[in-house]
Amino acid sequence: MRRWIREAARLYPTAWRRRYGAEFDALLEDVQPDFRELSNVLRGAIAMRIRNGSANWKIVAALGAAGAIVASGVSFRVPRLYASTAMLKVEGPASATPQALLEVEMSLFSRTSLNSLITNPSFDLYPAERRELPLEEIVAHMRQQIRVRLVPGRPDLVSVSFAYREQEKARAVAGQIAERFVQTSVAQNQSQAALWHTQWGESEPGPAGVQLAVVSPANAPSPISPNRLAFVAAGCAVGLLLGLIAIPLLHRPRKTLQIAAFALAGGALGLAASWIMPYRTTSIAVLRFAAPSAPQRVIAEMKLPPAAQQLKALQEQALNQEALAKLIRDPSLDLYAQERTREPIEQVVQRMRSDVRIARITPVSVPNGDFAFLVSYSYPDPLKAQAVLRSLLARMVEENLSLQSGLQQSGNPDLRKAYEHRLGDNLELLDPASLPERPLLPHLRVFGGGGITFGLCLGTFFVGRRRKYPRDEAA
């Protein structure tokens, strides 16, 4: 306990310790070392820091205020977005609207569809980003800028909006998306109706379709200001934090330089590591589980497990040990060549599994309806990443068919027809496996920033440790 009390006494301000340190330490040798004394010394240290720290607090406050001012300035420099909204009228049963919208969205939000908008010469969206980022990232960003919502209190109205930094383009693209919504909906309705009548005949009542029509074209874009309050609060917090870090460093310029040297060395090592690290590229595909297109009585007989359960079964089948080992050993792919020389195949398969990602991406939840999911595979070679993902997708589709093959043997002619014509639960490819455009790793900023942070921590630890040794020797 005496040691802890001595350590607590070192928390007093340096100037105070210079004046009273020796006699205070002598007093601490005389007092009864207990928890009460420790807490008293700690409280005294804090009180003295607050009392003597007025100049320091001014620095902290000044940096906090400076951070808030700079952030406020930055918030005015952040490009303003303009959102344009078009309104669509929905005709048909309200219960079918979410499913109908979802089906159109999955088609419109696909990489192919959004890419056609991005690269359309009359729009030419995100030109600067396209020079620096892979298409996948730009498409993902564009998806976030499109909003499709049922108007509250008006189940027959849907708003479609798009936000962009140029007013004219925001309006033009929002209009185009609304048009495509209607066209895609009409095309899907026609195709579904045609398929239905071919397979089930006129006597079977088909699914109630939903018709969409533009009732209000894309309006004049309204500006979406950046959240300036959040900017100012974040700037103030960063300034205060910097102030708190700067105070002890200002009092010890030599140690500050030493810590800065550690940080620089860490940053340099991080950048060097980013060059040594193997490149990682990711191929991405999007699939969709389509709900059965069959009369209700047939669907009831299908006794389908929940879609999520089916996806899990497919995932397990596609990523099973044997299938992945076969892919790894495929001479045309020759995957994980180095790892195979030093690890058993089971471990390499495990490694490959961790490089595969399967996740649902359907934006809205529709009970017992369709859902889309993303499958990706990361590997250093972009061509191999794409080839492996294609194989995995093919395997998933095959597995889905084989899971349904048992049902095709059914004695019920309607059930047989449903599965023979793939009208049952179906797996469709919305976006094929992409050829990665740019390595996702190594990311220079991530490695450099990580190195600097690590260097800062290491430097603070070592510089802090070194202070103790002379005192211990003196003791």
Binding site: I5, W16, Y20, A22, E23, F24, D25, A26, L27, L28, D30, V31, R36, E37, N40, V41, L42, R43, G44, A45, A47, M48
Partner: protein
């Protein structure tokens, strides 16, 4: 009466003392145990206001003495306390 400044001044009014001796003395005459942090917080403030002053010493345990200004302040405070104490006792007697 638990004001550390008054307790320290009262202790030093009886003679020069270093920190631990002040703690012991205060414990004895007031029954208050001053922690090391509290004691030196008060000593810092008293020295800054000029009510106590350190004495030259080769020892690590530096003794302090009460200054004339400190005596004057203690006298005023003690008189106030005395007046309050007497009033309270008188009223208690008649209650």
């Amino acid at each position: 009466m638990t004001d550390p400044a008054i307790l320290i001044l009262s202790s030093l009014a009886g003679g020069d003392k270093h920190g631990y001796a002040i703690m012991e003395d205060v414990q004895r005459f007031a029954g208050v145990r001053l922690g090391a942090g509290t004691l030196y917080g008060a000593i810092t403030r008293l020295e800054e206001t000029g009510w106590i002053a350190p004495l030259e010493s080769a020892e690590r345990r530096k003794p302090y003495r009460i200054t004339a200004a400190g005596r004057q302040y203690l006298r005023e405070q003690a008189a106030d306390m005395d007046r309050v104490a007497k009033t309270a006792l008188r009223r208690l007697k008649h209650a």
